[in-house]
Assembly symmetry: C2
DNA sequence: ATGAAAGCGCTAACAA
DNA sequence: TTGTTAGCGCTTTCAT
């Protein structure tokens, strides 16, 4: 478990950390007195202020810092809060991690965020590791196999919440993908009509994401739902969740273009990563042509606002998700079937120019 | 230190974790035998294979997981590796964190990455927290006050490296900003000449970053160095490190534009965040005008490649930086004045179109 | 107002 | 081949 190529051992002069015993010996007090002073419980223990002051002074001078392993072992707590997440290096997940970090630190806990590469085996191994470190609770974000992880957590008596992707064995906090997709579809339709009022083919394509992914399914449902509600027909070929990969999305939009002979009236792109592929294709077209297509992206990236054509985006409320997850963890009774959906927000690609 | 709004306590049925004593009692063996089996040292301790097998079976059935706090306390190790970083939610830093995470986990250590918001007080508090948790070593990335942190680490005998921003009291691994800037300046000059060969005003502007920031200084030096070497004059007004904020950069490029009455021949933008502001301004200009300006950005973002004008970027080698930092930590003798510069890489904005 | 001592779960001598 | 024991640094009763 511990490092083989010994980093500690490399340094010959690693001085031992000072403990409450060192300080106790130095001033001729008992360890428990020192402990009480150094952990703030000295008022309650009615320790003389002068004693407290000297102890604090010595501790500061010696660079004392409490040993959380010892404290944690004794108190059966760790001060650590764990989170697993698919990737760190991703706009959405890194902002989720950032939100988790802020909330966690505001509770005087130390956040431990580990990425698991959308790999169920990695997820399980990581969860076990975090449990070994006695994390107080666990956030399972975007897990491929949330229920498998719940089993492990339950066996160890570890509280946990699913985030971003729901499970059935622990409460979940996710974005309201369905409603977000409805909103985005509506925005795209509006723009289609604004660009060319009157009768058109009304072909809006859904591109990107994985058909087996929960969120993608919800987004497709929302997409369908809105188009049906306004009576726009949707052929099967209009929905193409070709995967979470820029290249697939690029190939897909390219195919759509050659099938139609032109761009569709509108484009609903699922995720910034798919959007990257789409833009790579759009770049080779004349700008005027692209500007005549109503484009939306389910996800948000500041650079998308800076493209030379407007894109409506859906931004997820990461702070809201984390706050809600913490709220659930604090509840007395935990309902494993609870699924809380956090509303998303529509972000317009060109706010400075037009007011719709 | 530990959570006030008690998350553990909220759950009434938090079963106690099973320990080696539980397992020992169950099969009538001694705790040390169980311990040996469960931490893999049983072959060395010549424990009967059959005993080992039963213990492993029971442990798995009971969902045993080792208590790292107890082990760490005993072995004076934690299995935790710490990193502080300005932000998690940032293209560069999140990829740095990701690289750190991968290297750390490959050593069977658990990464703990905490962001400190470019705030020296926060940095110090965080470092103290991580030391309390007995991290094996510490990566100080982009710290505002690396030497202050080194003092704290030295007092506690904690090995550490500076990353991205150098210090004087511990070894540092940073990008070669000077050389990267020379390369980028050269690329911009090339493009200026390609766009309009022959005599021009040769005005290239440096925009973004903070004049007191180490990396910005190096990049300005590199910028100057290359332009001087080819005999292009630089006025003071051409270098405008107005801060790490998109709005400042936007204002700066706007000012440059009104002073000149047009865009400069070339633009050296320092950081993607400044670049965001620059693009926001460029968006309001006719595309042809922007395309006649040679633009470079010291930093990398995939979306920049997707803009409708070419941008040459400098990409930092985060994997190389982390690998080198680990190499330093493993050394026997640590030289606090060591500064290792990792080469950066030039990324061209429009590889599919032209080959220069 | 302070001290003594037990114990958290594990590892590492040392015994047997 | 396995058991016994001390102790890592802290908290927490219970004494004084």
């Amino acid at each position: 478990m511990l490092s083989g190529t010994d980093i500690q051992g490399a340094d010959m002069v690693t001085r031992k950390k000072v403990t409450i015993y060192d300080i106790a010996a130095e001033i001729g007090a008992s360890p428990s007195t020192v402990a009480a002073v150094l952990n703030g419980s000295w008022e309650a223990r009615r320790i003389k202020e002068s004693t407290a002051k000297t102890i604090q002074r010595i501790a500061a001078a010696r660079g004392y810092s409490i040993n959380m392993q010892a404290r944690g072992l004794r108190k059966a707590r760790s001060g650590l809060m764990g989170m697993i997440i698919p990737l760190l290096d991703n706009r959405f997940f890194s902002s989720l991690a950032q939100a988790f970090e802020i909330d966690t630190r505001s509770q005087h806990l130390c956040p431990v965020v580990v990425s698991t590469w959308r790999d169920p085996a990695n997820e399980q191994a990581t969860v076990r590791t975090l449990i070994s470190h006695n994390v107080e609770a666990l956030f399972l974000a975007g897990a491929m196999d949330p229920d498998g992880l719940s089993d492990i957590c339950h066996a160890a008596g570890i509280k946990h919440v699913n985030v971003d992707l729901p499970g059935t064995k622990a409460p979940s906090v996710i974005s309201d993908s369905f409603q977000g997709a409805v909103d985005l579809a509506r925005a795209i339709v509006c723009r289609v009509q604004a660009i060319a009022p009157g009768p058109r083919k009304h072909t809006i394509y859904f591109i990107g994401g994985n058909a087996s992914d929960y969120n993608t399914k919800q987004r497709i449902k929302g997409f369908h739902s809105h188009l049906e509600s306004i009576g726009w027909p949707i052929a099967l070929s209009q929905v193409r969740p070709g995967g979470f990969d820029a290249r697939f999305a690029e190939a897909d939009i390219c195919n759509v273009y050659s099938e139609l002979g032109h761009l569709p009236d509108g484009l609903f792109v699922n995720s910034t990563i798919a959007f990257e592929g789409v833009v790579r294709f759009l770049k080779i077209l004349p700008l005027e042509e692209v500007q005549r297509c109503a484009i939306g992206c389910f996800d948000w990236d500041p650079y998308i606002e800076l493209l030379h054509f407007p894109v409506t985006m859906v931004r997820q409320n990461v702070n809201g998700m984390i706050a809600e997850a913490y709220r659930i963890l604090r509840r007395q009774k935990i309902d494993p079937s609870l699924i809380i959906k956090i509303p998303t927000q529509l972000v317009n690609g060109d706010p400075p120019m037009v007011a719709e």
